[in-house]
Subunit: 353 residues, 4 copies
């Protein structure tokens, strides 16, 4: 239940961190779409661990195998299933801490919900679950691209450092996906320092979707911002989301906050491209609050399964800052919501088939 | 589609601002629950316009009629339908502006999506739609209360004024639901000034849910925070949401951000009561960014249906600040998500019926 | 949950037999469709009790009030809510038997599920629940009609009498909706005799949907026949359904059963218009097994709430044969499934919006 | 969309007949359930082709690989993914007929819906899709078995031969799953004759579910019989379904058809164990009309993709009668519906968690 997302384009993921495989089924993709399977691998490579000094060195190649739904480079209209085997599973790293709840992790809450002790690598709660999301997102993107919709996520802030300018092309090449070329060096130095301290650090990821036509989104409960918000809040470590000027709007007056309209369109974009839950043709802009990685090398106070106080030090493979890893996942979730909105719009626009 | 919410407890609302009636169907309520119908009316009265100098003077009595699902004060297990007639419908207020898109409103996007000119009072996009949500929320609360779960929303900030202390009992009596007794006077003065300027102002609403046991929430895509986030982002004017320390976590290190565990439970609550998408037994705390009311009395730049530049002044009945109105709606949406999580937990906890 | 039907066009009904009102919300109707509200009333009038000597004389006028979703004769794209008040509620008829489970009725199973004693008039299990279905079906029909899709249900058999020829226009005028003019007199006499005996009788209803284009239906679990089957099996008293030659196919060989194709299309229609769960362009034909009305005037063996053996005689207002009542409901359910399939096809056909 | 089934226990299948693999994800299984993975393989072996002279000799071993959701023989509460590779893929058999629509098959309707020429082996419309259903059904059974619920399907009729007595243990050993030991020889001879003729033959499968407690089923649209009906009508070749006395009830009077109640329970079971869409504690009995296998070796009249008349002879590997193959699939679908009803009942029974 919790592992299915979407209403018109439906995504179901499976897999635990140290199980046999991760994977995803995408249902609802129209038939006859040209879908180059390499776009899936390319997006998986973008989210893959071990790609820079600032992300976890877990040695996964994350090779996607397409099991169904595509033949000869075209979609069949049937569910697309994608499989990624787990290879670099060193449960040893985790064995010693299976009796302890890691602070900041889902160990305690899964134990309370399912009655199971902490699973190796976090089990289902691991960031590896996002492999399936990213593979599905690549398919969603392939539906959106011919319509001129493109999506990019980039690191806007790490700790106290916040970008002063936005150079999206730069972000694609920067190992932290930092969007401000002037800040990238300082940001990298900070993350390196935090890593060397055995600590981690939070940050902010911004997602921009360009080219979304006006009129997408299903108002009331499934407003486009509500759906996007749910999508990104379902990514581990994301603890907040805002659209357009977001929390800054709380301090404004209506006469400043409203985006005026001229014969050339909207004069500003404080609303972040969405009004009344429907896209207004402006770029959709949202920002995500990313908490520091929960796994740190420093001793922390916790309890064991019997509730006894203990000290824990986590020595696995961890990202000192999650922002560069979350970017591709946030793009994928955004693409899934927008492709869903596209199909919704097709379904309900006029009554002729 | 967009008008249905929830998976185990399903809520479907209907009604346009200037149509015959607003209403809601709540399906999935277990049979045999004592449900005093007056709790529905009480919650409706809390959200009702015309209750103070700081909210819209629209003269609705919002009398709820229960059409089904309850007999002799007990639930039947069948859908509970609740009807609220629209009485104070002065379309005249709106007639003069039906050719213009009101800035900040959904007029433009509904036009792009549905091909319809701006509807009187905003039509389906009106805040009146929340009548059904609040009625449904009262039912959800009645399911949660016997389990010790209580929910309260209050105004944390208006414009630049932010509460320094939290006195929840005070908030219930304050016309702006301001949670800080020391700030209430200043806040009221600010809102009055803004209203007299023909302007509006934004703010922040905080929602706290106490007594939620550890283990609620359906991880992966329907994480408890993702579901709550969607729920509150589906309220008009809410442009951001954060959990626990939220955006402030972006500037922290892991060693500060993780909530340690002791034999007495969690030592802090930076996570806002949710870990890995599942409640951890701490209070659930979220904050909403509320934009200034879009309708203002000042002239604004816009276009008409033909795309010609025009100036608009809106002289209807409007709230200068939406925070006190949004509080009860945010409580209702929170209650609906939590009652849904309760039923989810019952469904999937162990295999015995 | 159980009270919501459909995936793209969503219908939610509410109401108990002796409660305040019956009603329905239809969500997902495209905006801007011309929808003459009188078609809703006309369909309700077709299913209404008290319209002939062969149906229950309960005196309901079943006046539909449209509460939302339609303005000036056109759909708004928002949920259409329709209300029908219950007027002729004579609970007295039922009071005396509230301690007994009526054989053939849902009294016993609702008691086991919900822990509630038999509700007056069957409560939610009453045939009056279909008021909402029929109103919703009228809207679905209005979506289908411009595409040339028409649906008709008629009585094919009552007890041992089975139609030898099909004259659909005749069925519309016959009080039993008998489709065979040569049989109508005999059928009416049989039903009259059964009624005078204080008994009831079963029959068969056939539903034909003409003009459905090839390509509708969502294969695998939501095959068009599976969806139609669920739709009609959800009507009380329907205990079986078959498509095309149905159960007769069980006795055939493949060389007889397969419908050959010629350059003019299918040569026969043993499949009933559906292959692999998708419409093939032929008329869709299904037949429903309708059990005799459970309420009869004769003494029957039953038990009371305490499990003690008792004898029951039901003296309410009952239809001696349900076929003429079920026809319009079966049409409505068929229309809802087909309109849903239309929207599904629109959503997933090609990727351009 | 069409590839997902269930509301509380959700099943999503994937795979095409001649693609890389078939598979299924089952979500919603409670955590901590003992689940011996060999029960999945055992059920797959029961449905496997090549197991007798009367079923298709396609040489699949159908080895299930469990990818997630189970560890150390216990469920984790996360989605259970099961993979079955396609091995014996002889597309050659099908190449020659890819330009022709096979009568009785979904080739024509898939072409109309998706714009794709007939896929090898039927693609997604192949009976191989049921591999995932059967694997999922084994899991559902494992949830039901501790509650005393058991399900069995058997061949009741083939062509004109109908069982006169029911010996369920015998059916398990008979290659055609014939339930009448006295008829089994004659039935086998008939099927052999039909096969030697290059033809196929229809039949009837009966499904019995014993031990279902009273009170399961979600009335109105998701009645237990409606859900079961949809489940089995979604199996290819099933063209009708009836419950209890089914179509025979159409010829009865109410005084015969109603099942009386005594202090020992129901006196008869004409209703097939379901009243008002809810189980009544009696065995649930339904019968399926199975059409003859569409693939036959005899020449048939058809058209090619361009609409030109052609003659087709199908020389693949086909079952002369589908009844023994459909039995295990019908059991699986029944188990899925009942396990879903079990979870529904748990979710909505009383309000305490």
């Amino acid at each position: 239940m919790g592992s299915t997302f979407g209403r018109y384009l439906t995504v179901t993921t499976f897999g635990e961190s140290h199980g046999a495989a991760m994977g995803v089924i995408v249902d609802g993709v129209p038939a006859g779409i040209d879908l180059d399977p390499t776009v899936i691998q390319r997006d998986l490579d973008r989210r893959r661990p071990g790609t820079s000094a600032y992300v976890s060195p877990r040695g996964e190649t994350d090779q996607a195998e397409i099991l169904s739904g595509i033949a000869s480079g075209r979609t069949l209209g049937s569910p697309i299933a994608i499989l990624v085997r787990n290879r670099d599973v060193r449960s040893g790293d985790y064995d010693r801490i299976r009796e302890l709840f890691r602070p900041g992790h889902a160990d305690y809450t899964y134990f309370k919900k399912y009655g199971l002790p902490p699973q190796p690598g976090g089990g289902r709660a691991s960031g590896r679950e996002t492999v399936g999301r990213v593979a599905a997102g690549a398919i969603a993107r392939a539906l959106l691209l011919p319509l001129g919709v493109s999506i990019q996520a980039y690191t806007l802030a790490v700790g106290p450092l916040r970008a002063a300018r936005v150079d999206r092309a730069f972000a694609e090449k920067d190992p932290l996906r930092c969007v401000d070329p002037d800040l990238a060096g300082e940001m990298a130095a900070l993350v390196g320092r935090v890593r060397d301290d055995g600590d981690s650090i939070g940050g902010m990821v911004e997602v921009a979707a360009d080219g979304v036509p006006a009129g997408w989104g299903d108002p009331v409960f499934h407003k486009l911002d509500a759906a996007l918000g749910m999508a990104v809040l379902s990514i581990g470590a994301v603890k907040g989301v805002e659209f357009g000027d977001g929390f800054a709007l709380a301090a404004m007056r209506g006469s400043e906050a409203n985006d005026p309209l001229s014969e050339h369109g909207f004069v500003s974009n404080r609303a972040g491209g969405i009004l009344g839950g429907i896209s207004n043709g402006q770029p959709i802009v949202m920002r995500l609050a990313v908490k520091p990685t929960s796994s740190i090398g420093r001793p922390q106070q916790t309890i064991d399964l019997q509730g006894r106080p203990r000290t824990i030090e986590t020595h696995g493979r961890h990202d000192p800052c999650l922002c560069p890893r979350i970017g591709p996942v946030a793009e994928a979730m955004t693409a899934l919501v927008l492709a869903d909105a596209l199909l919704e719009q097709k379904a309900h626009q006029g009554a002729k088939p």
